[in-house]
Amino acid sequence: MLSGGYQSEVIELQQKLARVQSLLEAARRVHATIKLDDVLFGVLETAAKELEADGAFFVAGTMPLEARTSVYGRVPDDWTRWTERTEIPGYSSARLTGERGDTLAHLVIVRPQPLSLEEADFLDGLALQSALAVGNAQHHERMLEWERVQLDLDAARAIQRSLLPQSVPEIGGYSLTFRSTTCYEVGGDYVDVAPLPDGSLMMVLADVAGKGLASALMSMTFRSSFRAMAGAGLPLDAMAARLNTLHWQEGMEARRRYVTAILLCLNPVTHTLEAVNAGHNPAFLLAADGSDPLKIGASGPPLGMLPDCTYEIERHKIDGGGQLLLYTDGLTEVFQGDDEFGEDRLMALLAHRPGEEFLEYVWKTLARFAGNARQTDDMTALHLRRAVAGGKA
């Protein structure tokens, strides 16, 4: 017959084994799901049942909790008074510690008798497993949320691409191309071409400050204003002033997302070009005769930044073989270490490599310059070339 002391040791060991087994079972259960609600409910149920408690509840730390998953079983009316500091008899607790060492929540059980050492170990072990399971569930929820945001952004991108000119109008004696790539899903650059009833062609290239979704939203607002005004017969300087006022009136956030833009109107019969530059990088106008290129610089500040701005129209003639290049600063502010691509190099490309595929060539050159590094800003350009008399554009 076993001695009394030995027998009680065996019983104790058996109890410990049972606790370990139930902890393993509890761990298996809380890890069996990645749904946060199920994890939380499972933890409370396991804690209450294993420790023969009346009930159990969570008190929120950094993890937000919903009422339906934070209480299980019977809890006293004043359970919400429980805090880590108040040692109210009849409550025992363990902390769920998050990945960053923060307290996700406290797991509290309601039981008149205090916990034995083993029971307290069990509760701590359960809290540790719970915290891991909560972490996994939160990761999963964030991933689902991210997928939803990604779908939204994909849809926004599709819309933005569809709002670019789908076909470039044929203008006798001219070739016109544009290209636009964003550094994120959507961007704040905008290019548009609008043929007018009198046969002339209105063009705009604009860049909203910043990048990403906020800038994309502003560029769409700008597009609406531009499109509404394009056919109204307003002179370009008045149009710029009006666009400035409309944007400025949108308020403080919009003013931070101001727009630099060049508005153009080409008469392909008289070959005259009207241009207004509102705080944008200078456009290059290059004649075929090898003379110095002309820069169309800003006559007024960016649109939407300050109230009551005025702008001036520049008028130029485009001779046979002449070229015009509009671009956003994403093209010139490409870096190779500390070396910036800059205006001069872009202008040199225009002078030495004209032709149908010019913009494709520019993009390739810039990618090579940046060592094929990821694009860091939206990039948009518009290239117009007049055919040499009797020749092809």
Partner: protein, 121 residues
Amino acid sequence: MALTISNRRSGGVEILDVAGRLTLGDGTGTLRDAARKAMERGADLLLNLSGVAYIDSAGLGELVGSYASAVSRGRRMKLLRPQKRVDSLLQMTKLYATFEIFEDEAAAVASFGPPLPESAK
């Protein structure tokens, strides 16, 4: 390099020594907060930009935003020693004329005139 701003007071003018990259995010937020706090203290602002080597479009928006905010509060904001990058961006965007820009700090501070008596603020 993150943007840092330290303040000095000279009469009724608060001089903000701005250093680092004035770009979207941290940089623009830091400037906005510093300018707002200085204006809440009832000061005119002199932004010392000699330590700002790089600015992006959002940074420029913040400069103009702080300027507009100063004007709307009946305060003034001027710029001191913008470096090449800031200077050329102000030129290119035709905003150079919007700001009063100084190379000499004493001249910049003097341009605000004598400090207003407390009762006039």
